[in-house]
């Protein structure tokens, strides 16, 4: 049961970027403070609009839960003298509780003995009497990544707080913070309904704010309304001839920039349509937060959508926004024209002045490294060469030297989100090969979780090289991610490396590439001490992302760990082994590999091992095991090179039978030390053979 508590923190206009942080924080502090105060509630719902954070605590009990506490004093032996009379210690303790010694009880504490004490029950207080402090504490402990102070007050918040509404059902919860006293008054739309609105009952809040204040508090509803309005435009007015570009990030922003959305359509002059599509769309979206509109053939039209804050437009709003967009597009066109005066040679020179990272040279240096690094990737794959390798190599050389150039174009300086997109556009305009132009864009992929991956070998390889180079560089600079701190998004980059390698099926040892990358850095920039460690650290960092990605897909991590024990450090190779083992587990009996290998592993321990001496093999089944290992060794080696791991597993499956027979018939711990050692060496050979694929003894297997 219980009643609802409404808590509204009225602020000046909030940055959209902080809103999620604010409502999450508010829910958390309220949960904590209410629970600490032994108050029961059903649920906490939170809302945010540009001028308010709101929490609605549903079903908040009217009385605090009572608390039983046992207070203990001196041990019984000290509390009473030989005659059983209370000592000063006992009397002092009783006094501290405002009780007589005769009121106290004997309490047994496990393992310690009997003590003098008292069980005290604290009756629950009325919720409404506690809420003032709870809400005040909650507000004061709410913190943001970016905070400010205002006027002469000693408080930090994301923006100035201007009113506080605190209502428990219909009762005002009073408390004071800085110059403010909480009350039952809220405010609606800043300019359309500037007068205060009194809320008598929590149930009236949303209703009154909408009807009297012209504000939709719930951002989900604001979003729905925007989409509904856009949908109506597309279907009713435009009859499917135009389509709005619904950029999700932009939509999120826009929802939180208005308290009541109202979309209107504007137009800009046709003269700007000559600009490339993506540049034009970004220029429409970036500063002014308008939605671009495409025509039926997918080209940018002169229409654009303004989401404004609930004003009934008499023409001024539309006209004003049209004027602004025209000026913005004039500026974008100016940058575009400026860039057209230059070429990649000019930009390449400018890259020398752009620092990649302090102590690690310029972006030009990075581009030069990328050239070598990406070619090295193709070299590492010599065994199974790429289709059209010559083309790929020459495209990689061009693309790596051009891929960072757009960072110094006016267009990207003005619209940073266009990095890669501008590069691709300009490369096409300057007559570069399409494969090269596309790779310039694709080398930034994936930009975020679940983003698309590069579609070509050139794009994939350049993307891998760029990300490995950044990760290795940051490790050299000591900027290794720890905990949740990953300012250079190295984890995301490492995930990108893994996904791109898997997509391209590139088979090379990560360590070989990282080692080469490190050498490239060290040629130009001396590093202190940790060089040798870096290769394995970076490799492990990337493998950890493979682990993360597998885990996310619900894959078995014990299988991955088993494979890693083989020492395999090629992402693709690991992937193939994983698939084979997964398939085997599904269709065959993995125990037939697991148990024999585990038996072998357990018996050999961690000693030094020597060669097997054939003449010391006496019994039939050890001879059989020996010959079986000998015959499978080269066969399995070939299969591993061919990446036919399914067949490796079949061989190991067969080996299992021989191993089992060996253990059943042969006593390893022979009295003769030489024979015993020889048998252990033999078992070690079997273990080695298993280990070429994986350490199967690490699998989690149903032992039954």
């Amino acid at each position: 049961m219980g009643k609802d508590l409404l808590f509204e923190i009225g602020t000046e206009e909030l940055p959209p970027s902080c809103m999620e942080e604010g409502v999450t924080g508010l829910r958390k502090v309220l949960e904590n403070k209410l629970s600490e105060s032994r108050l029961e509630f059903r649920d906490i719902l939170t809302y945010v609009s540009p001028r308010r954070f709101v929490a609605m605590v549903k079903g908040l009990g009217e009385v605090q839960k009572s608390k039983e506490e046992i207070v203990t004093g001196p041990p019984k032996g000290i509390a009473f003298d030989k005659n059983g009379r209370p000592t000063k210690a006992a009397e002092g303790f009783a006094r501290s509780l405002n009780l007589k010694v005769s009121d106290l009880e004997e309490i047994e504490i496990k393992g310690k003995g009997i003590y003098l004490g008292k069980s005290i029950t604290e009756e629950g207080k009325k919720t409404k009497d506690l809420l003032g402090n709870i809400l005040k504490d909650s507000l004061l402990s709410l913190s943001f990544s970016k905070q400010m102070t205002w006027s002469d007050y000693d408080i930090k918040f994301i923006r100035p707080i201007r009113w506080i509404l605190a209502l428990y059902d219909s009762e005002i919860i009073r408390f004071n913070i800085i110059n403010l006293t909480s009350g039952n008054v809220t405010f609606g739309h800043r300019t359309l309904s500037p007068t205060a609105i009194t809320i008598k009952n929590t149930g009236d809040y949303f209703k009154f704010l909408k009807s009297k204040g012209g504000v939709i508090v719930d951002s989900v509803k604001r979003r729905e309304l925007i989409l509904k309005q856009i949908n109506k435009l597309e279907e009713k007015l435009w009859k499917g001839k135009y389509k709005v570009v619904l950029n999700e990030d932009l939509l999120k922003d826009v929802v939180n920039l208005v308290e009541i959305p109202n979309t209107i359509t504007g137009n800009f002059p046709r003269e700007f349509l000559y600009m490339p599509k993506e540049l034009l769309i970004e220029a429409i979206q970036y500063h002014q937060k308008y939605f671009a509109v495409l025509d039926k053939s997918g080209n940018v039209s002169t229409k654009f959508i303004i989401v404004q804050n609930g004003i009934k437009d008499t023409g001024g709003v539309k006209k004003g926004n049209e004027r602004v967009l025209k000026a913005r597009l004039t500026d974008a066109a100016f940058f575009y024209e400026e860039d057209r005066k230059h070429d990649f040679h000019y930009w390449t020179e400018k890259l020398k002045e752009v620092i990649f990272f302090s102590g690690l040279g310029s972006m030009y240096d990075k581009a030069a490294r990328l050239k070598k690094l990406s070619l090295h990737i193709t070299n590492l794959m010599h065994g199974n060469s790429l289709k059209g390798e010559e083309d790929i190599s020459s495209d990689l050389v061009s693309a790596s030297l051009l891929c960072k150039c757009d960072l110094v174009t006016s267009m990207v300086v003005e619209f940073p989100a266009l990095q890669g997109i501008v590069g691709r556009q300009y490369a096409r305009e300057k007559g570069e090969k399409f494969a090269v132009a596309d790779a310039i864009f694709e080398h930034y992929l994936p930009r975020f979780a679940d983003d698309i991956l590069p579609s070509t070998d050139v794009g994939l390889i350049l993307s891998i090289a760029d990300k490995i180079d950044t990760i290795t560089g940051m490790f050299i600079a000591g900027k290794i991610p720890s905990g949740s701190a990953d300012p250079f998004a190295l984890r995301r980059k490492a995930s990108g490396v893994v996904l791109s390698i898997l997509k391209g099926k590139y088979d090379f040892e990560l360590a070989d590439l990282i080692d080469y990358n490190l050498k490239l850095y060290l040629e130009s920039f001396s590093s202190k001490d940790t060089e040798s460690k870096i290769v394995s650290e970076v490799r492990d960092f990337i493998i950890a992302r493979l682990r993360f990605l597998l885990d996310k897909k619900g894959k078995r991590l014990d299988v991955l760990d088993a494979i890693l024990q083989s020492g395999c450090g090629s992402i693709t190779d690991i992937g193939l082994r994983y698939a084979a083992i997964e398939e085997f587990i599904l269709n065959k009996d993995i125990k037939k590999i697991y148990f024999p290998m585990t038996r072998c592993r357990n018996i050999i321990g961690k000693k030094e091992f020597g060669e097997v001496k054939e003449k010391l093999l006496t019994e039939e089944y050890e001879k059989k095991l020996f010959s079986s290992i000998e015959s499978k060794k080269s066969k399995i080696k070939d299969l591993v090179i061919k990446k036919d791991f399914a067949s490796v597993l079949i061989e190991l499956d067969k080996l299992g039978t021989v191993v089992d027979q060996f253990f059943d018939k042969v006593l390893v711990m022979d009295k003769d030390e030489k024979i015993k050692t020889n048998r252990i060496n033999l078992i070690k050979k079997a273990v080695d053979l298993y280990m070429t694929m994986a350490d199967f003894s690490r699998l989690i297997v149903d032992k039954g």
Partner: protein, 292 residues
């Protein structure tokens, strides 16, 4: 409303709200913030409410007079309220209303725009104010100046006068604005805008500017040794403007850029610290006046 009338209107409005109306400073600067009436007065505990027009220069924003509203020279109307009043946004909206903007039929929006000026170690949180999409004002709660945390906090309201005029006069370009009934903004400023754009981007003598920077920096150190804070302030501004010109001439590489910025910031820090000390020694005269 003519351009000059907008100035009169804002001056009268803010005078009524207890601001003193000051006149611009006779020195090149990038914004009204650099005027010591903001730059220095925002420091320390003394109350301070001021409004003034500030002609401002941003060499890199020059567009040879071709962009309808990007120029290397423009006018700001600067208001500084310290401490920031609780009803500061209402006061601001009142000034728009007073200019004849009907707040019920226009979309006025406060869009997050945290401001910082690394050259003078200043930072603040606030918004750009949009009127039907047009950025007409920068609204900032100053948090830091010269690297010093500010208490009390000032509210800085910076109107872009040309943009407000475009909006009020329904014009698409600075140059078409009427300054008075007979003279346009273009009559007054278009030719000089073209000439300054040429100068800033193409002509300014790089060697001279580099030399001036060194000399101004040196002069700053000299006058500060004598405790001449207000003189020192001007040399910080001169360094800052010379740096902006060098930037427009693309005479400074990216790495040098950082070092120039930190050099100016160091000066600003020394200056602000000296100013704070001086006011303290003087016993914060404006604090006493406030109490009378």
């Amino acid at each position: 409303m003519n351009f000059q009338d907008i100035i009169f209107n804002l001056q009268r409005y803010w005078a009524k709200k207890n601001c003193i109306i000051k006149q611009p400073m006779d020195l090149e600067k990038g914004a009204g913030t650099f005027n010591p009436d903001t730059f220095l007065r925002c420091l320390g505990p003394e109350p301070w409410n001021v409004a003034y027009v500030e002609p401002s220069r941003r060499p890199t924003d020059g567009r040879y007079g071709q962009n309808p509203f990007r120029t290397q020279f423009y006018y700001q109307f600067q208001v500084l309220l310290k401490p920031s009043p609780d009803n500061v946004i209402d006061l601001y909206l009142g000034s728009l209303k007073n200019l004849g903007i009907d707040l019920k039929s226009h979309d006025i929006r406060f869009v997050e725009d945290d401001w910082q000026s690394p050259t003078i170690g200043a930072a603040g949180l606030g918004w750009e104010v949009w009127a039907d999409g047009m950025e007409v004002t920068q609204f900032t709660y100053f948090q830091q100046m010269g690297g010093f945390a500010l208490k009390p906090v000032s509210a800085e309201i910076t109107y872009g006068l040309e943009r407000i005029a475009m909006y009020l006069q329904d014009k698409d370009s600075f140059w078409d604005l009427s300054w008075s009934d007979s003279i346009s903004y273009g009559d007054l400023h278009l030719e000089s805008e073209k000439q300054w754009s040429v100068y800033n981007f193409e002509v300014a003598s790089i060697d001279m500017l580099l030399d001036l920077f060194e000399k101004y920096e040196k002069e700053f150190r000299k006058v500060m040794k004598k405790g001449l804070v207000f003189v020192g302030c001007e040399y910080v501004l001169k360094c800052s403007h010379v740096f902006n010109l060098l930037d427009a001439r693309e005479a400074i590489s990216v790495s040098e850029r950082t070092s120039y910025i930190s050099r100016v910031r160091d000066l600003a820090k020394v200056l602000c610290s000296a100013y704070l000390e001086q006011r303290e020694k003087m016993g914060y005269p404006l604090l006493k006046k406030d109490k009378k």
